[in-house]
Amino acid sequence: MFVFLVRRLFQAVMVMLAVAFIAFLMFRYLGDPVNNIVSQDATQEQREEVRQRLHLDDPMIMQYGRFVANAAQGDFGMSYRNSRPVSALLAERLPATAELVLVAALLSLVLGIPLGIYTALKPRGILSQGLQILSLIGISLPTFVTGILLILIFSVWLGWLPSFGRGEVIDIGWWSTGFLTLSGIKALILPSFMLCLFQLTLIMRLVRAEMMEVLRADYIKFAKARGLRNKTIHFRHALKNTLIPVVTIFGLQLGGLIAFAIITETVFQWPGMGALFIQAVNFTDVPVMAAYLVMVSLIFVIINTSVDLLYNVIDPRLRADPTRASGRGA
């Protein structure tokens, strides 16, 4: 177990280094941040001065080396745009993204699993078929379109829910939470629904397929033969075995939620890390982009590692053979 974690830690560092390297390779194609920093009619000397001050005239490999060396000491530099430390900016935005992703993840489970079970148990019902069609739409519609549709219906037409922002937030230490105010909770509904829609349909379809598979298994027939109640069979025996792949997929998709949050945050002006990243891209704010990408890669590694560990716990067959679990790629 310890060896497994150390190995994972090493892999994580390598992944982050590689991500940062690729990021720095790409940054120079994004344009010149100097034009965004100086005034429009700044002289060539002023431009050069800023370029030197920010070390933008150094070769890419040196810029990368400096970033890694500083990052190792916990210093991600200063944002060109906001002239504030990048770590402070990310920490400020983290609660917004974390709460959004958390709610979206919970929604996808809380809605996805029961709907999946329902459609599995009553595959020919009208409601099931309707849900199936809806889920197909949910999976194929681009998320930003869904977002705009949601805004149109619930904000513009009905006027029930806010079209942007987090509502009122309350600070608990450095963490700002929207869970404690009515406007904060209302503001969460549309963005989290937009964000979870894809996972929701995925989980629903997965649960349905798995459940139908399991219901055909021999032990379910035996359970029926024993005269157990349907409820017991479905929820005690069938569902448990259905959930193993669901947990895996869910874990892996959690990273996807964080990545997709960029689009949701842009559509709903959600002040999270994704919105920060998009702004940084528009401004060519290199320190913010680099730090964000590294951080997201770290989150991905952590999630994948946790899923592997969890997989070990849930599936007893794997516990006997730890090398198999640790062999999964990051």
């Binding site: 100086v38 210093d75 504030r84 430390p85 900016l89 805004i151 037409w157 006027g159 002006q269 002040p271």
Partner: protein, 523 residues
Amino acid sequence: MRKLLLAASTAFLVQFSAPAFAAEHTLRYASAGDIYGLDPQSTTDSFSINFLMHIYEPLVRYNRELKIEPALATSWEIVKPDVIRYKLRQGVKFHDGSDFTADDVVMSLMRATDDKSPIKGNLPALKSVEKIDDYTVELHLSGPTPLLNNYLTNIAIFDAQWLEKNNGVKPVNAEVGEEGYTTTHANGTGPFKLESRRPDAQTVLTANEGWWDKPEHNLTKIVHTPISSDATRVAALLSGEVDVITPSPLQDAKRIAGSPGTKVLESPGLRTIMMNFNMRDKLADGNVEGNPFKDARVRKAVYLAINMDLVRDKIMRGKSRNAGMLVAPEVPGFDEKLNQRFPYDTAAAKALLAEAGYPDGFQFNMNCPNDAYVNDEEVCQAMTAMLAQVGLNAKLVTEGRTLHFKKAQEGQADMFMLGWATLPMLDGFSVLSAMLHSPEGKLGTWNPGGYKNAKVDELTKKIDVELDEAKRRQMMAEAFAISEEEVAWLPLHQQPLSWAVRDNVEVVQTPDDLLRLWYARIK
């Protein structure tokens, strides 16, 4: 059904929010981007500076006609051509209660022109500031500076003690890696006080009851939210969650105007859109030897081939204003006589090309941004098609603004698009010094094409130090006339400004596209 629902929901909102307004007069404002920070001397972004001028104030400011009027300074006189004396307003208090005096002006102006200051360029020519008494200062300049007051409208005045106490005497220095107190706190003399700020989410200002000026606004509170997505910003206005949006997307104008309770405010802006010509020895991406654009006849042929009426009517939905000059009518230096475009004439264009030795045209590249100006990409596509009709093969390259301006500055374009509002200077000299003077030190910084005319250069240098306004205008007209005759740049149009408000909100739409909420009223 949709209309009905919309009407119902709006009626519902208006009904329920009206009592709150009557008591409070909160104006909720959404713009496309957020301010970069709270320090008005840390950025040259005109949106940020203008927003922060609700909290801070300059010595002199623009009024609703964009004319300069006294703010923290009450009067000024020229002691010597390079020494200007300002009388300061007495009885002004900062939001934290301390008095405004000459010390504050000295420290603020020196901070703005510090070597490390990002806005040093916004206040050129200032050498030192001398305190004469508590309410008089003298500005010592490196030479006569006719536009000094224009520059000063952009320089916010801090409280000297507040800066000293919070380690803010020097400008915020990004390279040191520490956060400046002024980036996250504010203390000015302006019409509004900072109540709270969450970057990229919400900034709340409250009216400053102790403001020295008689407020023309009737607001008690401003809640500003950046909403970057156009569709969401419009939705927020239509659903009644915000009262003002800037900008309002052109394509949604009809929808906003047709919805009950909201209206669109449109007018031509200051920003003149134009095309630069590469006049270096070789084309960046051409199929002929040398560079045809060095020949004024070729440049004029390009000019004659562009049908701006068509661009205005078809692409800009009739909202733009075609330009013959490189500056807008509101900018000092504008001259109606010079604003006549050469008429659209493809036959004459072809004749000019033939005369210059290119009867079959030639190939070159044309670089355009796709996110910098209103319908920038569409305008360029239309121009490419129009140029093709006279045999010119413009290879269109469209990119995001950061890449576009980088390539333009580096001379990778044969023609490129640029918009110039002359801000923060708000004077025709801005165009002469940055775009028409040949590249030389501080001059010609946006003349990568390398246009050079000795007479224009000479006039520009004279205009820079001419204190007599009539003579200055006359020289500007002369320089603009020469550059127009030579088609130094190809002027296109002033793009429209588009804002949208709820019906009960009155704002002043100045052509510089900056929302001054100290003129806003809620009915």
